[in-house]
Every structure is written in C-alpha cells, then in structure tokens.
Amino acid sequence: MIRRPIPFTPTELLCDNGLRVVVLPTPSRGLVSLWTIVRAGSRDEAEDGLGGFAHFFEHMMFRGSERFPADVYNREMTRLGADVNAFTSTDLTAYHVTLLPADLDRALEIEADRFANLSYDEQAFRDEAGAVWGEYLKGLADPWFALEERLLETAFRVHPYGHTVIGPRRDLERMPELFETSREFYRRYYTPDNAIALLVGDVERDRGAAMVRERFGGWRGAAQPVEVPVEPAQDAPRQVTVRFAGRSLPLVWIGCRMPAFDPASEPVAAAVVLAEAGFGRNAPLWRRLVVDERRAIRLEAWADLARDPRLFHVRAAVRSADDVGPVVDAIEDEMRRLADAPPDGAQLDDVRSHLLAGLRLRLESPGAVGMTLAPLLALAGGLDAVNRFWEQVLSVDAATLGRCAATLFDPAGRTVARLEEAP
C-alpha cells in the first residue's frame, strides 16, 4: 500500500474556541499561504429563497471589520504584496492569503479580525448584490453552466444540491432584500468550531501554530447549522434537454447518484478510480470516442467528494447533433461494462500510478497545496483522514470496483442532460 500520498507532515491542534489548525511546512521557499476554511456552502442553502447565499456571503467577507474596513483591508494587503482570494463550493467557503513569511503575523491579525468582527451596512450589502448579479450574467453565456443548472435541478428535488453554487436567478434577484438574513448567516456558520485554519508553505510549525492560535483566539460563537433535507433515493432514470440561445457544440452531461464522502467509504474511493479508469484519456471509451471515431471533442468524468450524497459526473462535448445519441449510448454501455469487467492487473496499476502522480504534481506551491487540500480537509477534518482516504483510493481492488460500479451506474439513479443550440 502507498503510505502518506500527501508527503508532508502536519502539526494539528484544536484551539479553545473550537478552531482546528493545520500547519503544513512544504519544501517551498519564500512564500506562505493561510487558508481559512468555513464549512458553509451551497449545501447549506436549504431555506426557500436562499440559493446562492453562501457564495454571496463570501463577497461580503471582503467588506472588512470596524478596525479594518474594506478599504483599509485592501490597501494593507496590497502593501504586503499578498495574493488574496476566496472561493465557494457546494460544501465550503475558503479564504486564502499568500505572502512573504515575514508578513504572516500582520496578515493573520487582519484576516482573523474579519472573521471575528465582520461589519458592513445595508448599502454595502445591496451594492455587492449587484456585483454578484453581474457574475451570474457572465456565467450564463457559458453553455456548460446552462447545462449544469438544469442537470442539478433535475437530479435533486429536495436537497440544495439541486441548484448551482452561484444560485438560481429567482433567488439572486431578491438577494438585495436579505440584509438581515446575511447577519443571521454569519452568526450561524462563521464560527470557529465550523472552520479550519491551514497554514502551508515556508512556515516554522510550532511558531506558525502559536501565531494562528493567538490571532484567531478572539473569534467566538458556536455553529447552528440549518438542517439540510435528505434527498429521497432516485428510482427511475431522468433526462432533460436544454435549448441554448447562444452558440455551442452539442453537450452531454450525465449525473449518477453517489454516496456522501467518508474517508473510509469504499464506494467513494471506487468512484474516484472508476472516473479515471472508465473515462480518462487511457480508458477504452476515451480512445474510441475522442481518438478513433472523433465523435467527442472532449470527454471527462469525476466523482463528487461531498458531505451529502451527490453525483458522479460524465460529460462530453460532441462533434455534431447526429453524434449525441451514439455518444450517450456508448457512455451507458461503458457503465455496464465497468460493472461486468472492471479494470484489473496492469491497467489498474497504471490508473493508480496516474492518480498518485497527478495528486502529487498538484502540490507545486503553497497556494496549490492549499487549493488541493482545503476541500478535503473540510470534509475529512484532518490530514490523517485525507491520507487514509487516498490510501484507500490507491488500493481498491478489481472486485470492489465491479461491485461499486454496479450500484453507482444503476440506470435508476441516472440523469442525462443534453444541450443543443436553439433553432
């Protein structure tokens, strides 16, 4: 078995206020990256009208605190030459600051203050709603986005995974009215016991841990997450077709229901392997559709690692409308084949080697390590569990793959979404 797929040794601690801290020195010189990861994402938008709120709230976090209002925050981070950004996904929102090690303590001081003492007025809130609306409109021009919206709302009827991270149009339109809700959202989710601080790169482990503990020590509160409804099992195949107003190649996106992440879950580890073995560029199907028949310009698959049961995705950009049917049939045939004749022997060894090399190649700078690990840490809680999960991925055997494929690719749990240009 491959031990420690993530080849760095962390120092981990739990602060008195519930904040988990992971310090991860890496062989990079001259830069350190601070990640504050909050377990709030589009999954937590269970209440009516709140679709897109977690992402919207990410924008509000850049409005600063009384001590460091937005203008002061931005100017100080600029003076420090910090690379500052954030992103929101289904399950988390991650804020990151990368800068020179000598400036880390100052950055921690400023960063911690906005988590503990965020402050903005209603006008700022309304202005930001306009910026998010602009982001949504820009996304609409992307045919993949249009297809994803419809795929998700078809695959999920109750769970918030049924909308995209940026949120549905109807909710975004009334976002400017939800100032009070935003304060409530902050109290419920932006609490130290619902967050992880990750310090990665050119950092001395004990000193780094002490700095985080001290600067984030004043952050108070206890998470009060809203209960997220459980999506009933899907008992029949679903499909949806999008007629896209812009120009696009025909697109196909297939979602198969899969279980929630758990570091010990065999089906989830198997799904990661099946995505690569079944649909990666060395898979027989990829060779056939992309290289030999050229019906697909692009073919890719991935498994969601998510807090609640979500999807295994296969998607393709197709050469012409006539090729859409054959491409969908070929993908569905391949799903059956993976259950009957799962990858084995040398092929499986190659897939494992490819996955491990791919994982390690992603860890090329402090920022890239943070980007790779933040979502996994939010799910798994600590680096040990992340390593355990990856060890499991790299050791799943053929029999397990076949068994898991049979369940994962059961047609009853499948949603097929197609996109074609509107006539």
Binding site: R75, G81, Q123
Partner: protein, 480 residues
C-alpha cells in the same frame, strides 16, 4: 540560442522535475494563408503520434507518469513543458524527445487536432468568452497586416488549408537544434542533461533561422476602433496602444509601477477598478497591462513564454451594458490622461512600491514558473539580473519622477486602438464617430461627488473618424 547547454535550477528536495524546451518561433511566422500553422505543429507534437508510436500508444506510455507535455505557443516562442515525479524523469525526457525529434504528423491525427483547433476559434473564441475575443480583436486592429494580427490559434481558412507538407516544412525550418532554448528544474537526476543533449541533437541541423523583423503597428495618430458585432452581447472592451518600452529598461519598471496603480490584474485597489466597479458598479473589474496576458480570466499571474518584441499597453474593461460603453471608455482615458500628466498620487506611491517589491515573488511561486521566467530572461538578454528581481529592486529605488516618466512613455494615448464586442455596434459606432456619451443609468443612488466626477469624465473628448471604425460580424472574425 543554445550556447553552454541548458539552464539548470536544481531543487534537490523537491519531489518533481520540470523540463522546458523552447523553439524560437511562433504564430508571427505563420505563412500567409496558413494562419495557425505554428500552433498546429506544436499541437501535433503533443497531441499526435510519433514515427514509432501512434497517439494512443504515446498516451499509454505517458499515462503512469501522471502528466502529459503541454505546448504553449505564442507570437514568437513555442514552449514544450512537462513536470513529473522525479522517479519518472528519464522516461519523461525520452518520451518528450521522441515527440520532438520524430513527430509522426499522421493524417488521422491531423484531422482530429484540426477539428479541435477549429472548435477553439468557432466556438470558444467567438462564442465562449467575449473578453478574450475583444483582446484578440485589439491585437488584430493594432497590428493589422502583420504577423501579429491573427490569434495564435490561427484563422478558420488558415487551419483548413494546412496539409502534412506544411507541418513538415515548418518544423524543418524552425525546430533546429541550434534554435532551442531549454532548461531543467527541481530534483534533476544525474545524467539527465547529457541524455537530453544526445537525443535533441537529432533535431534538424543547420543554423538557427532569425525571426522576421518585428511587426510594425498599423495605428496612425488618433483613434481607431474594431467592433465585433454579436447579437445580444453586452460590451466587452480592450483598449491599447503600442508599447515602446522593453523589459530591462528603467522606464519599463517605472511604467510597471504606474500600471499597478492604474489597474493591477484582479486587484481591487487599482484606480480603474475603484472608479468603474466600486464607485459606480458598472462591471466586475477593470485592469491595465504592459504586456500580453493570455487567458486573463483564468489566471492570477501572467504565464512565462509570452515575451514579444512588440507589446501593447492595454486596458481591459470587463463586460458592461452597451449603453455604458462610451462613458466607461472616457473614464479610462481621463484616468490615463491624469496619470500621464501628474504621475501616481504621492500618497499612493509607497503602497505600490511595497506591493511590487513583494508581490512579484508570486509569479514564480512554483519551480516550473521560475524556470519559465529564467528562460524569458535569457530571451530578453537579461543575464545579470532577471526581469522579476529587477522589478522588485527598482520598485523601491526608482524616483517618483522616473515612475511618472515611465507612465508617460508607456501610456500617452496619442495612438489608440479600441476593440469591443458588442450587441449594439451601430449605436456604438455612431457614438464614437460623433464623440458622444451618456451618463450611465445607475441601479442604486450615487453620492453627488460621483455625479460631479461623471460630468468631468463625460467632458473627455473621444472622436473616432468613421473611416477608422470597422464593424465585423462575430461569425466572420478570424475567418481568414
């Protein structure tokens, strides 16, 4: 290019090795009627078979390494890069050399790669990203009639006309051993350099061919506009002028610090961002550049490998409503006028000096990027001190006057290209021709100071003579 062997940046404790091999050619050397050839040759090398192996067999060989080489083609350079775990270094080096030295250029590979390259123009560039399209349109306007005019990916007609003989001839001419510039970084194992040297020596012989003379900008004094007509589109704008400065010159670095102040890429502290997005909420961001920055919507830092003899000072105004476009143009120009006349405000300078002295470390956070920038330095003749260290040093050394002079040299809008993707080309053309602009319709109330500033912005003169305005339907741009 290659004199004493490759450039080496060893980092022994790193788990990976990177290899970059550059060829001194790019899309500016595409023959007329074969636009896209440089890019297609490079793509055929990394996305097609060799003389010995089919493309699927090559994929099999690369697969356990977890990586595939990528080709980054620009106007004047073509770079092949790969990074692998160090235990795979020799295998990767052998495979990449096989691809470069013995390309297959097979007909079936050509058809597949051509299909993808055509989709990149017809779907991705024309309909996937209006902002990248406006940038491509700006280069085609400023450098009309030259090798810089078409996008690196080529034109539809150019790609369709390319045959196997074109691929072979282009490679024979440009992919010569003596035209290489290459380097290794990370945990470079012993013996790897000589192994590579032996294999690469099998590339075509003969002297390196010099690039054609640097393309001359087509812009005359005044303003010219290229409007890409795209039904229903909002306005995506890129504005620019030819840059007379080069990396290495002190004035370039003065201009670089002033450019940070005006609009560092994706910074929320830049002046343009402040006045257009923060104060007025017109769009998502507004930035300024001294050098090309491909795929700006997807990156935080510019990639290495885009060194060009001709560059543009460029302003990127992100998508906003068509009716606000003439106003936004005036805001950008008025801010540039003020920067050229007065320099960066004294109160802001310490912050932007400090920023440049620190932030430029991020450009080379990964070893692979450090290697790319070091090769860029070689290309620019910056041997004693590289471009990024120079910028970091000069950020604190340059005088305020030098920064102001750099800004004036780079930005004076005496010759101006305006490229815009828009759903209202006729209305915009008329507004440009008549020199008209309306105040924007704000969604939320604005303070009196904003309205007052708007009146000053609207007074900024901008007239583009009708003869200098071209309108091209989106389906036709880069067709030939």
């Amino acid at each position: 290019m290659i004199t004493g062997g490759p450039l080496l940046l060893p980092v022994p404790d790193e788990p990976t090795v990177c290899l970059e091999i550059r060829v001194r050619t790019g899309s500016s050397e595409d023959p007329e009627g074969r636009e896209g050839l440089a890019c297609l040759v490079a793509r055929m090398i990394v996305e097609g078979g060799t003389a010995r192996r089919s493309w699927p067999e090559l994929l099999d060989a690369w697969y356990p390494l977890g990586a595939l080489p990528e080709a980054r083609v620009d106007r004047e350079w073509t770079a092949f890069r790969v990074r692998v775990p160090r235990e795979h270094a020799e295998t990767a080096a052998d495979l990449l050399c096989e691809m470069l030295v013995e390309p297959g250029f097979r007909t079936d590979d050509l058809e597949r790669v051509r299909l993808a390259a055509l989709a990149d123009i017809r779907h991705r560039l024309r309909f996937g990203d209006d902002e990248e399209l406006a940038k491509a349109a700006l280069w085609s306007l400023v450098y009309a009639g030259s090798g810089y005019a078409h996008p690196v990916g080529g034109t539809v007609a150019g790609l369709e006309a390319i045959g196997r003989a074109d691929l072979q001839a282009f490679r024979e001419r440009w992919y010569r051993f003596r035209a290489l510039s290459w380097g290794l970084a990370g945990a470079v194992p012993p013996g790897l350099v000589s192994r590579l040297e032996r294999r690469l020596a099998d590339l075509p012989g003969g002297p390196a061919i010099a690039l054609s003379p640097a393309p001359a900008p087509a812009l005359r004094p005044g303003a010219a506009a290229l409007l890409v007509a795209k039904p229903e589109a909002d306005a995506s704008i890129s504005v620019g002028r030819p840059l007379g400065l080069r990396r290495g010159e002190r004035a370039f670095y003065g201009a670089a610090i002033a450019t940070s102040w005006l609009g560092e890429h994706r910074s929320s502290v830049g002046r343009l961002f402040h006045v257009l997005r923060e104060q007025r909420g017109l769009n998502y961001g507004d930035y300024a550049y001294l050098e090309a920055f491909p795929d700006a919507g997807l990156r935080q830092f510019p990639p290495p490998g885009v060194v060009r003899r001709g560059q543009l000072f460029e302003v990127w105004i992100r998508t906003l409503p068509d009716e606000a476009a003439p106003f936004a143009l005036r805001v950008a120009l008025a801010e540039i006028d003020r920067l050229v006349a007065e320099g960066v405000p004294a109160g802001d300078l310490p912050m932007f000096r400090s920023f440049n002295a620190r932030y430029r470390f991020h450009h080379e956070a990964a070893t692979a990027d450090r290697l790319g920038h070091a090769l860029d330095d070689l290309a620019c003749g910056l041997r004693s001190e590289g471009h990024l260290p120079r910028l970091r040093r000069l950020a604190t050394e340059l005088t305020d006057d030098e920064i102001a002079a750099g800004a004036a040299a780079a930005m004076t809008p005496d010759r101006l290209g305006i490229a815009m993707v828009t759903g209202a080309p006729e209305r915009i053309a008329l507004a440009l021709e008549r020199g008209e602009a309306e105040p924007p319709a704000y969604r939320t109330p604005k303070p009196a100071a904003v309205h007052e500033a708007d009146r000053r912005y609207l007074a900024r003169e901008l007239v583009v003579p009708r003869g200098n305005i071209a309108v091209v339907p989106v389906e036709e741009i880069f067709e030939r």
